[in-house]
């Protein structure tokens, strides 16, 4: 009985054989539709900031440094590769590439910076139309998240009523003591 079980367990590998893939010596591309690194096509981008305002990880940033230049930074270090930016981009300027070999020894390597040239609409004073119909996905009127530090704060916070005394309490609050301070090794 015991032996029979063990033999059955041993037949599994003999049936399947060694299945180990040869990666990384042999490339193994991801399947079609894989959500790898998003790639911005700077020729298509209109700077609407739809990607930035719908990014769950809030890792796409836009900032006007002057009237004509808007900078888009995509910092992949927090990206969740959900592909929402690609979904919602009205110009389809973002594609989810199938590249997953992103490992690096430098965080800077996985960032993308795009300098956009913005031309204001002479009629409405905005740069683009709000294309998306879904009520939940509507681009915010501000168009992008962090156009200035001040606004970032406006958007970012929930608590005008917060009183700094709360924080002061933290300094005086008596925290629970440690059980016993370890002195092992010191003795």
């Amino acid at each position: 009985m015991w032996l029979w079980n063990k033999i059955k367990q041993l037949t599994i590998p003999s049936r399947t054989g060694v299945v180990t893939l040869r990666y990384p010596y042999k490339p193994r591309p991801a399947p079609a539709g894989f959500r790898g690194q998003p790639v911005w096509d700077h020729t298509k981008c209109i700077g609407c900031a739809g990607c930035a305002s719908n990014c769950p990880a809030r890792t796409i940033f836009l900032r006007d440094i002057c009237q004509e230049i808007r900078i888009l930074i995509y910092d992949s270090s927090r990206c969740t590769y959900c592909g929402r930016c690609a979904d919602l981009c009205p110009e389809k300027a973002i594609t989810m590439s199938e590249n997953f070999e992103l490992a690096t020894d430098n965080r800077q390597d996985i960032t993308q910076t795009i300098e956009l040239f913005m031309m204001t609409c002479q009629r409405c004073g905005r740069c683009y139309d709000l294309e998306i119909k879904n009520a939940l996905d509507k681009l915010q009127m501000l168009g992008y998240r962090y156009d200035s530090l001040e606004v970032r704060k406006v958007i970012g916070q929930s608590t005008p009523e917060f009183e700094p005394e709360h924080l002061e309490k933290t300094a005086t609050y008596r925290r629970p003591e440690k059980l016993e301070k370890s002195s092992c090794g010191k003795d």
Partner: protein, 563 residues
């Protein structure tokens, strides 16, 4: 008269003046507002009626000048009915009566809000810190609306949670947070007498990421599914579907049928990978690495399948509010069928090889035993409950998505030990395959060409409650949504299946051997990140008073840079 109306009348009758309102958008849900004095009475009434306690939700309902609210939800499995009772208290006297003395499973739900909201629960037997880190100062309650989401009080080095004293004659073996049998940070102080476990204390919630405050200002309805998915990397789809269902329920949205089938398929694929994963991990935990390797070898095909269906192996990103993002067309359906038949064949071979192995029996039978009565008392859910003879499954009891159209068996075992959970999970693998095949059939025949998601016309109405359950691989996951303004919910509360199951672990461990600790904890398939999440969404407040805001921002940033 339906069961719902019966209950409503009963409560109205018994509570009289303490009953405030009862409402529901759907027929399977009942939302009741009561006065806070009646909380215990109502809960015990419901329990007497055969309810199963699910979770507690606390939030600050400041907008209407209402103070702090506490919602308790109950399930009537036999009647497919979910009941939520809500009570309010004022901010200057944030006190509720505790349900824990007669519903032990409510213990954590209440402790959570002691930490996060500063509530007090009268008669709570063990009002210790649960969620926040050891050095988090008292007096700052992150879920309160006046606390910014990125406030980081200064840390303190020499501070520790005061663990309970070990019972006399035993010492503590500190399992975790970085321990080979726990792949997630959680701390079990296991009291041992020699090799025998005499109890344990859990200090978890180290994966508490405080998603709520982040979402309070940053996330919108349709960003949340993607964050919800990352509550847990294993059963992420459960959470995103669950969240979407809760929002849809709250706002009365009806999504396309095809989307429901696709959601069902993804949920079942997730169950497949999760159960196979568990089988492997269980093998690893009893030192049987071959089972680990073989189970994961089989599982890998499912991962590849998921990858080609959704574009990612784990966090599928399929769900948005109102539908799904990607279609499962005929070629993909064929791929699914092919993979499933391979998996089924491999799984049968593996099952045959291990199911009668005496050595495995020796390590699992009679280990981590918990009686049926105890299981009811602790509100256990999922395979852990089903292994203890509780015939419950949210897929059948609270039908959602496309489960009303598929046939499947609920696998129940009655051994009450680790072995039971193993059997239940293995059997459920085949059930899941069955369900997927049925769904694929439906997709191919009736639902060809229907849309994937609906266009949502207007904003979601504020102040609506939505409650949704989904049977995750680990058991029933519950989401509660209270809709809010500004394109985001006011409150979103998740109760993962591990949440009740984990509370019963000390009971399961009692008088077992130290060597069985990994497999007993493993048997509930703990998903600590699910449990620790506290993914609550707060509503955004007005954008005035920028000045004090800036000070605050500066303050908290400075503080953070020091830590």
């Amino acid at each position: 008269m339906s069961r719902k109306e019966e209950l409503l009348n009963l409560l109205k009758d018994k509570l009289r003046g303490k009953f405030l309102a009862g409402s529901s958008l759907e027929d399977k849900r009942l939302f009741i507002d009561i006065k806070k004095e009646a909380l215990v009475e109502t809960a015990s009434l419901l329990m007497k009626e055969g309810a199963r306690y699910q979770m507690g939700v606390g939030y600050e309902a400041k907008k209407n000048g209402q103070g702090l609210a506490m919602v308790h939800t109950f399930a009537f499995d036999a009647d497919s009915l979910l009941v939520a009772i809500r009570a309010l208290t004022t901010e200057d006297k944030p006190e509720f009566d505790s349900l824990t003395p007669f519903i032990p499973g409510a213990g954590w739900s209440e402790r959570e809000y002691i930490d996060l909201l500063g509530l007090h629960f009268k008669n709570h037997p063990n009002p210790k810190r649960l969620v926040l880190s050891d050095d988090w100062p008292e007096g700052i309650y992150p879920l309160r609306q006046d606390v910014p989401y990125d406030l980081m009080p200064p840390s303190a080095e020499e501070v520790a949670f005061r663990l309970d004293e070990a019972p006399p004659g035993s010492s503590i073996i500190p399992f975790g947070p970085f321990h080979a049998c726990l792949h997630e940070p959680a701390h079990f102080a296991v009291y041992v007498d020699g090799e025998e476990i005499k109890g344990c204390e859990y200090r978890g919630f180290m994966v508490h990421r405080g998603i709520e405050k982040l979402a309070a200002t940053e996330l919108t309805y349709n960003e949340i599914p993607f964050v919800a998915e990352r509550i847990c990397g294993i059963c992420g789809s459960v959470h995103s579907v669950n969240y979407a269902q809760a929002v849809e329920a709250a706002s009365g949205l009806k999504i396309p049928r095809r989307a429901e089938f696709i959601r069902t398929i993804m949920l079942e694929i997730e169950r497949l990978h999760s159960h196979l994963m568990w089988l492997g991990v269980a093998g690893h935990l009893i030192g049987f690495d071959t089972v680990f390797m073989q189970a994961w070898r089989i599982r890998e095909k499912i991962m590849w399948l998921a990858e080609s269906l959704t574009g990612n192996r784990k966090t599928y990103g399929m769900v948005i509010v109102g539908g799904v993002r990607r279609d499962i067309d005929l070629t993909k359906a064929d791929l699914i069928k092919k993979t499933l038949s391979e998996v089924e064949k491999d799984m049968l071979a593996l099952e045959k090889a291990i199911i009668k192995d005496k050595a495995i029996h020796r390590r699992t039978k009679g280990v981590g035993y918990l009686s049926r009565e105890k299981a009811v008392e602790w509100n256990l859910v999922g395979p852990v409950a089903r292994a203890r003879g509780l015939d419950m499954d949210a897929r059948r009891d609270h039908r959602y998505a496309a489960y009303d159209e598929v046939k499947f068996d609920v696998v129940v075992a009655d051994s009450g030990d680790v072995w039971g959970t193993l059997v239940v999970r293995i059997k459920e693998i085949y059930e899941a395959i069955k369900i997927i095949h049925q769904c694929l059939g439906k997709l191919a025949s009736e639902l060809q060409g229907s849309p994937l998601a609906i266009e949502i016309e207007g904003p979601v109405p504020a102040g609506q409650q939505g409650l949704s359950v989904v049977e995750a691989p680990r058991g029933e996951a519950v989401h509660y949504v209270l809709t809010g303004d500004d394109n985001r919910p006011e409150r979103w509360r998740v109760r993962a299946p591990t949440y009740p199951n984990l509370q019963a672990v000390p009971d399961m461990l009692l008088n077992n051997k130290l060597a069985d600790f990994p497999i007993i904890v493993g048997s509930i398939d703990p998903c600590i990140s699910c449990t620790d999440r506290v993914a609550v969404i707060d509503r955004k407040t007005a954008a005035d008073r920028i000045l004090s805001r800036q000070e605050l921002e500066k303050l908290s940033r400075e503080v953070r840079s020091k830590t």
